[in-house]
Amino acid sequence: MTIATDLGTKVELTDERKAPSRLSAIGRFARRNPLGAAGGAVIIVMVLVAMFADFIAPYNPVANAFDRMHEPPSLENWLGTDQYGRDVFSRIVYGARTALLVGFASSFVGATFGLVLGVASAYFSGKIDLILQRIIDIFMAFPLIIMALAVIAIFGTGAQNVIIAITIPFIPRCARVVRSSALAIRELPYIDAARANGFSHTRIILRHMIPNVMAPFLIMITAFVGQAILLEASLSYLGLGVQEPTPAWGLMLQGGAEEYAESAPWIAIFPGIAISLAVFGFSLFGDALRDEFDPRLRSL
């Protein structure tokens, strides 16, 4: 690239001064965080599988085929069949959709509500902060699964209610983390300047505070997706999540998987592996993102 100077000369910019391309940024991220990159690869594969499930799955995941019950893995059924004769591979492929839908929806909504609450709590401080934090304390006193079970008991089962059940316990967790970052930002001079200029609270929160706590927010989302997938699987396993015949990994571990654990172990093993891989992938990627965004860790 060439630029003209005010002296009439032309200066050639070297490659070193060019903005790094996205590809090279990803390459650097992968070199610095090989495990995180592996996690990211798992997530990409999972997203692709979910998007193109119709083309990847060889069978209809809900179609019963009683003449093929409990078939072990073979060329025809790569991961075997379950007690209804359904193809386990096809159900795992479609199950990725359920996992990602529940995972992303609940973590995004939960983290977003948490972001707004956390920033508002830090910005207004005083009694509002006190009350909000005590309410958050109450919610955080319950383990994730207990909280989700309570919500399911109120709203009932089904994919939509599972998303709500997982979203609610995420809100206080994200709010607490975001608040701690927002407390520091609130004391910075540009926030004082915004106040002195008479900007509204909404404008200060939305334009000046929230953009500056995006790093912990994104890290929380990534961490939540893995937790949400695990929670969805747990609820489905307990019979409180999505229901048959919907393809869902946790549901695949329930019922027949338990009953036929000895004679047809593939019914339980492969969905178990899928859950582990997905949670592992999101955890590694979340950790790597945290390291990347945190300058203290990056310098180590």
Partner: protein, 537 residues
Amino acid sequence: MNLAKYLRAASIIAVGAAVAIGFSGAPGQAAPKKGGILNFVVPDEPPSWDGHRETTFALIHPFAPFYSLLIKVNPENPSSPTDFVCDLCTEMPTPTDGGRTYTFKIKQGVKFHDGTPLTAQDVVASYKKIIFPPEGTTSARVAYFVMVDSVSAPDDHTVVFKLKYPSGAFIPALATPYNFIYSKAKLDQDIRWYEKNVMGSGPFKFAGREAGASVRGERNNDYHVPGQPYLDGFEAIFSNKQAVRVQAIRGDRAAIEFRGFPPKSRDDLVEALGGDITVQESDWNCVLLFTPNHKKKPFDDVRVRRALTLAVDRWDGSKSLSRIAIVKAVGGVVFPGHPLAATKAELEQIPGFWPDINKSRAEAKRLLQEAGVSDLTFVLSNRAVDQPYTIVGTWLIDQWRQIGVTVEQKMEPTGPFYARLRSQDFDVTMDFNCQSVVNPLLDIGKFLSTDIGNESYGGYTDRDLDKIFEAMNRAPEEAEQRKLMRQFEKRVLDEQAHSFVTLWWNRIIPHRSYVKGWKISPSHYLNQDLANVWLDK
């Protein structure tokens, strides 16, 4: 059918059932030993503790041992639909007044668990609650006693039932194991007291309950049958996961589950425990139904309802599902094998039982198109119990998928499931007709109009159907009853398409061989007071 003919027909069934039952052991041959605690697993918890109101094994298994009945099935011969013995009465009565009056003498000296005496007044108060439930209460067995005109106690030791007409169905109805005898004083105090409390005169006293975990009973030393019960007590352990229940028996945490396991679990237990496990099997007077809500569109249209049954391949389902679930026999509204049941040829005339499933499904699609709902979508309400509800529900959804209908399944625990049934807040629901004594004339009361059949949840009123039921119960001859039964069946399953039968159940009870004295019957409700059960340890 007159009583003699009924008894003859029933005896044929009893012999058939006995032959069909595969006993791999010989329960109850040695002299009973006293002592020990029987641990058994129960797949669910009851919505309430009132036997008159409930219809589920979840109530009978943990709570029947706390109560006495007026009469009961013979615990030594529980498969017989005609062998009844006295529990609180002194002898089985001979009807008088042309079969319209039954007089029972009540045992003297019987005490409730709180020490108060049990008299004929308590029996009458209990039966009045069952037969003529006061406003604000629910009785699941009103339809069983349509022939009863009055019940009274001329003195403290005599109970008299007066019937509107002679009926061979009356005595089996009396022996229904849900007819717990309650304390009149408690009922007078609060007619719904027994929904949340226990106080009977049965072989065991209530010793405690831990919500979601267990119910415990301890021996009633004042029990009115000398020498019984043999056990020191029992613990009913709740677990809705079948794998857990099987493992409980395998690990000897529990000795038995009285409801039934699928063939695979039986095979696993036998393979693992060998001689330590005994298996009892029987046909089962229990069937899963699916019922559309007639008050909801588009299920108010008989074409839509008929399409739902036409999509279901019961003949193939029987072969497939019997390998993984506790269902097996294809039948109509009557317990298969009973003289009043439809033959295979008769069944094949009914939509949903046609031998050619492709023709059947083509007709289903045509009906849906004609009704303007070829892309029908609905929610199937189902009970969150593994066997056989989840499996049959999932199978049905696949059957409907094949005519282009999309169904979402909503599974709920027993309490909320019943609440939804009773409030008729569903599109289509899984439903069941599980009866105790095989007594088709009354067992089909399930299908009557909603305002008559207290267990009928479809939200329909069909007076023509009710009339056929009434005529059948008054008909003296079996041939006439059979003819009327076919009309009844055709109206329910075809002409009006009110509610639909899926597959009849098959009962398999693998239990620890040290459990003695308990014998299987074609119902998981019968013979559950545990008075004659003992442990050979």
